[in-house]
């Protein structure tokens, strides 16, 4: 089979990337099949607290008697939801903003750059805190907060790429040939920004997951009863010595997710940019 051969070659050439891909596939699988995989509900509190890992509770129970394994499994779904939604919406919106303003140029471009700068100058944590306080703490508001963090950076990055793409000769040629601006943007500018976009998405999904965890430490992350890995990690720091399983399993979960996503993202980027393959010279 040609595909099998191609996959095998990919695995050989990009061992790290393959490892990453495997991890991500497992992550997505766990997230999708969470209801079937988790032995209990993520908010079920009927059990004795602080039980160490055992046959009945492979990852132990937490400080109010919930099954850690179930919460870690459901946590995959929450982390992936938060990471993917915030990044896909945020980076896409930002990228579109960057492309359009780069293309249009002039005063609108300058004005929107000021807005982007103003947003970027605000420390992310305060933005998240204020949003949670104003709108209430919920998973979707966490997504919103992360989104607001990602849009300006994406806009700026993609804008600078689009600015250079705008100067390419084929753009001028297309315009001279009578293509509409929209057509030029969609068929010429956007595709050339694709590599940057992919890089932004892959690096930011894991960033979003980790930022959500940090937000939970100061009380601005997902609501504490949700099975958020970051929330579990925060709660577990109160008892590292006596109940290490409370930080071990969510910590490993976060690390694995970040590793997988980053390795995979690196490999995709290397593939997309042929100049980065192979050795030097």
């Amino acid at each position: 089979m040609d595909e099998a051969g191609a996959l095998a070659r990919f695995a050989q050439r990009q061992p790290l990337g393959t490892a990453g891909a495997v991890i991500v596939v497992v992550l997505v699988g766990v997230a999708v099949f969470a209801p079937q995989l988790a032995p209990h509900g993520p908010k079920e509190t009927g059990f004795a607290p602080y039980l160490p890992p055992s046959a009945q509770f492979p990852m132990g129970t937490d400080q109010i008697g919930r099954d850690v394994l179930s919460r870690v499994v459901w946590g995959a779904r929450l982390s992936l939801y938060v990471g993917l939604t915030s990044v896909l919406i945020g980076v896409t919106l930002g990228a579109l903003w960057g492309v359009v303003t780069a293309y249009v140029g002039g005063a609108p471009d300058s004005g929107s750059q000021r807005v982007v700068d103003s947003l970027m100058a605000l420390p992310p944590i305060i933005l998240a805190l204020a949003l949670m306080a104003a709108l209430g703490q919920s998973v979707n508001n966490v997504v919103l907060a992360l989104l607001l963090l990602l849009v300006p950076t994406a806009a700026r990055t993609v804008r600078s790429v689009a600015l250079s793409v705008k100067e390419f000769p084929f753009v001028e040629a297309a315009l001279a040939a009578g293509c509409s601006h929209t057509r030029v943007i969609v068929r010429h500018i956007l595709p050339n920004c694709l590599a940057t976009y992919i890089v932004l998405v892959t690096t930011n999904v894991s960033y979003a997951i980790v930022v959500e965890a940090s937000l939970s430490f100061i009380g601005a992350g997902a609501p504490p009863d949700e099975p958020s890995w970051g929330g579990m990690l925060t709660a577990g720091t109160q008892a590292i010595e006596n109940a290490p399983w409370l930080v071990l399993f969510p910590g490993v979960a976060i690390s694995l997710a970040v590793f997988g996503l980053n390795l995979l993202g690196d490999a995709i980027r290397d593939l997309a940019d042929p100049r980065l393959r192979g050795g030097l010279g």
Binding site: D117, L122, L129, A130, T203, S206, S214, T237, L276, L280
Partner: protein
């Protein structure tokens, strides 16, 4: 170059204005104000008394004026450098700024130094030995820095210090000028945790920049001229690939100078990040506005400085 700098400096004004307006509006959208918090947090008076006290506090602080008036009054003070009085600490906000900023600055500087010293050489190594096991090790190491939330790294450091060495960093802050050793004994740990976290993207950026640059024509030319591999690498490739890295570090510097509240909480460093979070929590508008203003100013200044440096170092870039 000078026109470029002047133009950028002029652009500070609308950006600062925008940022301060944004945070002003955001803080007003958040429910509750200092009057309510001060009065309700005791829960010991009857509601009639409480209502009276709230109105009195609001009058004293000028919170009963229309919102637009409040912003303009703040703005008028801000351009003179007078940021008013903190609602929750009853002292001039400028005092708070003067007290807290040097600490965050020191922590940020140490963090950046550590991160650069660690990340850049490793990134170079990883690029020069691409696709070897060394490259893989460095890439895995770099990702590991990103993979744990920074609060966890901090708590873990504290825990291990106590568990393994039965030692804890100093819990009270002394300035670098007063007692440099004590100061560094306290700050080195949050700096390490932060540096570990930000070194990851720096390492990767260095690596990808190096990889890109060595394929450029001028490198090939240098090789063709017969320069040794080492000269090629370090004199030409490295210097040019560092520029985006410097920009990136500068961007992080701008962020870090505002103080990282999580590190400040864990390592008991009373810096700007903590001051800001506490001010938001108490709806201490003057302090929030002032700190955000200063943070934005720093961020913009650092980015400008880095861009200027970029232009000065790279002969191909000319700012018109």
């Amino acid at each position: 170059m000078r026109t470029y700098i002047t133009r950028r400096l002029l652009l500070f004004v609308p950006t600062l204005f925008g940022a301060s307006l944004l945070i002003f509006v955001l803080m007003r959208l958040v429910p509750g104000d200092i009057a309510e918090i001060l009065v309700y947090q005791t829960g010991s008076e009857s509601s009639a008394v409480q209502k009276r006290q709230i109105e009195q506090i609001r009058r004293e602080l000028g919170l009963d004026r229309p919102v637009a008036t409040q912003y303009l009054a703040w703005l008028a003070g801000a351009v003179r450098g007078d940021f008013g009085y903190s609602y929750s600490q009853r002292r001039p906000v400028n005092e708070i700024l003067a007290e807290r900023f040097p600490r965050s600055m020191e922590l940020a500087t140490v963090t950046l130094l550590l991160a650069a010293l660690w990340a850049i050489p490793l990134g170079v190594v990883s690029a020069v030995r691409q696709n070897t096991w060394l490259d893989y090790v460095v890439r895995v190491l770099s990702i590991s820095g990103l993979s744990l939330p920074i609060f966890f790294t901090g708590v873990l450091i504290l825990y291990l210090l106590v568990r393994v060495f039965r030692w804890l960093p100093p819990l009270e802050y002394v300035s670098l000028t007063e007692a440099p050793v004590e100061n560094l004994k306290q700050l080195i740990w949050p700096a390490l945790a932060q540096a570990y976290y930000i070194s990851a993207p720096i390492m990767r950026l260095t690596r990808s920049q190096m990889l890109e640059v060595v394929r450029q024509d001028y490198v090939r030319t240098a090789r063709a001229k017969g320069l040794g591999e080492r000269a090629v690498m370090y004199r030409h490739a490295l210097r040019n690939s560092l520029l985006p890295v410097v920009t990136f570090i500068g961007w992080w510097g701008g962020r870090l100078l505002g103080g990282v509240v999580i590190m400040e909480i864990i390592f008991a460093v009373p810096g700007m990040g903590l001051a800001l979070v506490q001010a938001v929590s108490y709806r201490d508008y003057p302090t929030v506005q002032a700190i955000i203003f200063v943070m934005a100013l720093i961020f913009l200044t650092v980015n400008l400085a880095v861009d200027v440096l970029y232009g000065w170092l790279d002969p191909r870039i000319r700012y018109g």
